[in-house]
Amino acid sequence: MSNAIETSGLAKSFGATRALDGMDLRIRQGSVYGLLGPNGAGKTTTIRILATLLRPDAGTATVLGHDVVREARTVRQKVSLTGQYASVDEDLTGHENLVLVGRLLGLPWAAARQRAAELLEAFGLAEAAGRQVQTYSGGMRRRIDVAASLVTIPEILFLDEPTTGLDPRSRSQVWELVRRIAAEGTTVLLTTQYLDEADRLAERLAVIDHGRVIAEGTSRELKASVGANALHVRLANAEQRALAQEIVTRVLGDGVLPVTDPLEVTARLENPAQAAAVLTALTESSVDVDQFAVGNPSLDEVFLALTGRPADPAATEAKP
């Protein structure tokens, strides 16, 4: 199948800050693709270039075969963007916002009104249709914002951190919606800071750091590089960390991951069953354990494994 999105050597600076530094992406048509990375990694800049809001300093980007700079208008005809901040008019009602977008997209008045009502109904906003958006809750705003991107269904949908700031219930609703949109054939490119979000939604993902792709693949492939499961041990007492690390290494053979927190020991687990043996060994050596958990590696752990440093730039700078 052809690629919906291709970028090659994309670069973009804002003053002295290099937001993108040779971004290469190939995104297959009809898939959900995730850009995973910490704040400032270049996710939003990439999406804004692809949605024709920014121009790259160097490199090329095509969307469905159309160059985003030279054929910007054609690209706009095929994509929708839901930015990080609600891009709807807060003074207008939910219904008016959707009619506005429908009219601008070229729908006749009656069709725009009908489509607005249909979307509001489907997004559980029918009762709030006549209320100004500024009275909406965070989750409702996010939904009206996504709905505004679906007034006519685009071939490509860009979602910039679609669930940031949402409560768990709203978050799972957005996930379900993304799955259904993708099932109907729209290519979805989303950015996220959460590995579990990328994991649940995206067939493939790219880990972004300092404006370039540092790892690309299915979420299974990426997690294999850190271990499908991670063991998180939180100690009561930082002095016992060396001892705890030694015990974990002895039981597991290898796999202790670097962490910055002096109370944490994290290790790659080939098999969740190994956790029991670790806990037994720790207890026998009288290591005081506060928390003991087996789970997905976090973005931070993926980052540490890939780059040797934490995702949070502040944590890096804090070290001498």
Binding site: V88, R103, L104
Partner: protein, 275 residues
């Protein structure tokens, strides 16, 4: 959209299937739609009309009764001179809201959506301006009404009045482009206000809106006589009182054209510039 509220099966398909998008709205239709948005905003936030209601009423009443006796013998005599000028001042002042509104929209991310739609890109600017022209007209009608209630008697009749209004709206439409530039350059709506008023205060007060040119010191006369607002106030007085002066009207049109020709390309360039 609790997950259970999401439609299922065929319904989902109907809702979310990709269909060929319609031909995007024409430039004219996009501008009309965005002007509709501006009017809706007035409907939902009637407070927006506060500035174009209270300020004009206040200015007209205050200036007429405070200065009237001193400047022209009686308020009733003064208002014949003042009203066309106070109309000019009020509308010139409220042009600032064009920049304020634009700045607010940009910072709320709304322009990201507009700019990612396949429409004629400057439509939002023209749509907003169309809404503003409505507000200017509303304020003008109000001032004239108040004026006539307290004794303003224009000799030029309805036609003179409408021509004067058309001239004021033309100049203010051009002037708005300056505040569009400011709105795109500064960070907050508050700084749009402050920056714009640095220009507007001297522009309106260093004019013959309140007093005749002859009463000022010669050096000031030289400045005031060249102020486009002076020409606009003169031209409006002439038209409203049925004694139109071709030269004043001509200079207002020239000034409007110059402002528009200089400011609008800069504004468009800034608008297309990425943020």
């Amino acid at each position: 959209m609790s997950s259970d509220a999401l439609p299922t099966g065929a319904r989902t398909h109907e809702l979310l299937a990709i269909r060929t998008r319609p031909r995007p709205a024409s430039a004219l239709s996009a501008v009309a739609t965005l002007a509709w948005r501006a009017l809706l905003k007035i409907k939902h936030v009637p407070f927006q009309l506060f500035d174009v209601t209270v300020t004009p009423i206040m200015f007209t009443l205050l200036f007429t009764y405070i200065f009237g006796g001193a400047l022209a013998g009686t308020p009733r005599q003064y208002i014949q001179y003042l009203l066309p000028g106070v109309l000019v001042q009020t509308i010139v002042f409220i042009t600032v809201y064009t920049g304020v509104g634009l700045n607010t929209d940009i910072h709320k991310g709304l322009y990201d959506r507009f700019r990612s739609l396949p429409m004629w890109q400057p439509s939002p600017l023209f749509g907003a301006l169309a809404g503003d022209v409505f507000r200017y007209s509303f304020a003008s009608a109000l001032i004239i009404l108040i004026g006539m209630m307290i004794g303003f008697r224009p000799g030029g009749g309805l036609v003179g009045m409408l021509l004067a209004l058309a001239l004021v709206l033309t100049f203010c439409f051009a002037l708005s482009w300056l505040w569009i530039i400011v709105g795109m350059l500064v960070r907050t709506p508050e700084s749009v206000m402050t920056t714009s008023f640095i220009f507007l205060m001297p522009l309106t007060f260093a004019s013959n809106i309140f007093v005749e040119l002859g009463t000022m010191p010669p050096w000031l006369q030289a400045v005031v006589a060249r102020n486009p607002v002076t020409y606009l106030a003169n031209a409006s007085r002439g038209l409203m009182h049925g004694t139109p002066a071709g030269a004043d009207i001509g200079w207002v049109l020239v000034a409007s054209a110059v402002i528009l020709l200089v400011a609008s390309p800069i504004a468009m360039r800034l608008y297309r510039r990425e943020r």
